[in-house]
């Protein structure tokens, strides 16, 4: 699953998942039906999912595995220059790019060259957060530091829930949904507060999960 040469990297998440797809096909050819031998109860089915785009693929053979991987590739940023997925939905990367460029994509457009209607973006309403913030940036401001640490702990707990959900306890996915809203509130608390000593920047969550885990163990 690693690039063939050490100095190569996956150019995009789409490429990475495409490589996963290739690996899966390889294993399926080699092992046939015996590859998918796990307990189907460990899978997350449509009963654990609601709202949003896309749909749930229960993976039971190479075809369903490929369908699931294609969904991820298409939703994320596409691959090979395609900006729409098979369901004709614009990939997330290009949706964000629409905002940056202030212009909609149209079917048939090339990447980075939308030709649709233009729209105004109120950049004054965007929060001027610090890029790649670290908890150590908040050493001088106890309130920011404690909010950032709280967020990282919530985020670590959330990832733990997701891991458990995808590792045999699908019902945990339901617990994870309200946690996402808590995460949003925790992020906004930081993003709306100014970072003293900066050039009019606001604070931001740091996502330092390893730090959160360390802190919990001690």
């Amino acid at each position: 699953m690693t690039p063939e040469r050490n100095d190569e990297e996956y150019y995009s998440i789409g490429e990475f998942y495409d490589e996963l797809r290739r690996g899966f096909s390889y294993l399926a050819e080699k092992h046939g039906d015996s590859l998918m031998c796990g307990d189907p109860k460990r899978q997350i089915g449509p009963e654990y999912y609601y709202s949003g785009g896309g749909d749930i693929h229960v993976v039971k053979d190479v075809h369903t595995a490929n369908a699931a991987l294609e969904l991820i590739i298409g939703q994320g940023e596409g691959i090979g220059g395609g900006i729409y997925d098979k369901a004709k939905e614009l990939s997330h990367y290009y949706r964000f790019e629409q905002i940056l460029k202030g212009q909609y994509y149209m079917p048939g457009d090339k990447p980075h060259e939308p030709t649709g209607r233009r729209f105004e973006v109120d950049w004054n309403a965007a929060l001027p957060i610090k890029s790649n913030a670290r908890v150590s940036d908040y050493d001088a401001v106890p309130e920011l530091k404690s909010a950032a640490v709280d967020f990282n702990q919530d985020y670590a707990r959330f990832l733990g829930l997701l891991t458990a959900a995808y590792d045999g306890q699908p019902q945990k996915l339901l617990d994870a949904v309200p946690e996402m809203f808590r995460l949003r509130d925790g992020m906004l608390l930081l993003m709306r507060n100014p970072l003293p000593g900066s050039q009019n920047e606001n604070a931001a969550p740091t996502f330092e999960v390893a730090l959160a885990a360390e802190r919990r163990e001690t």
């Binding site: 920011l144 909010a147 906004l188 608390l189 930081l190 709306r192 507060n193 100014p194």
Partner: protein, 106 residues
Amino acid sequence: MRDTFLALSAEITAFKVFELEGTGLTDAYLQAVEGVVGRESVNLLLDKYREIPDGEPGRRDSLRRVIFGDQRLGPIARNLVKLWYLGIWYQLPREWRDAYGARRRT
């Protein structure tokens, strides 16, 4: 003005400025209060608040006397507390509207 509004809000709601700022509603609320009671009343409220000397003993009493006990400022301050907690602006008492209302009918 925004800072004083936040400081007053924090003191009378017992939230921290940090928490109030984190709601993202400060500007909307300041604008809402100004829109209802008028800039003059808001300025008076914030001026009086700024004049209250720091430090106990006495600050709590001063707040009560200068802000909450004041015919004009008290109802605004009480409404501001409710606004932060509930997100609702309650109609001010009729006496207040008659005496100070920004949009009182003539």
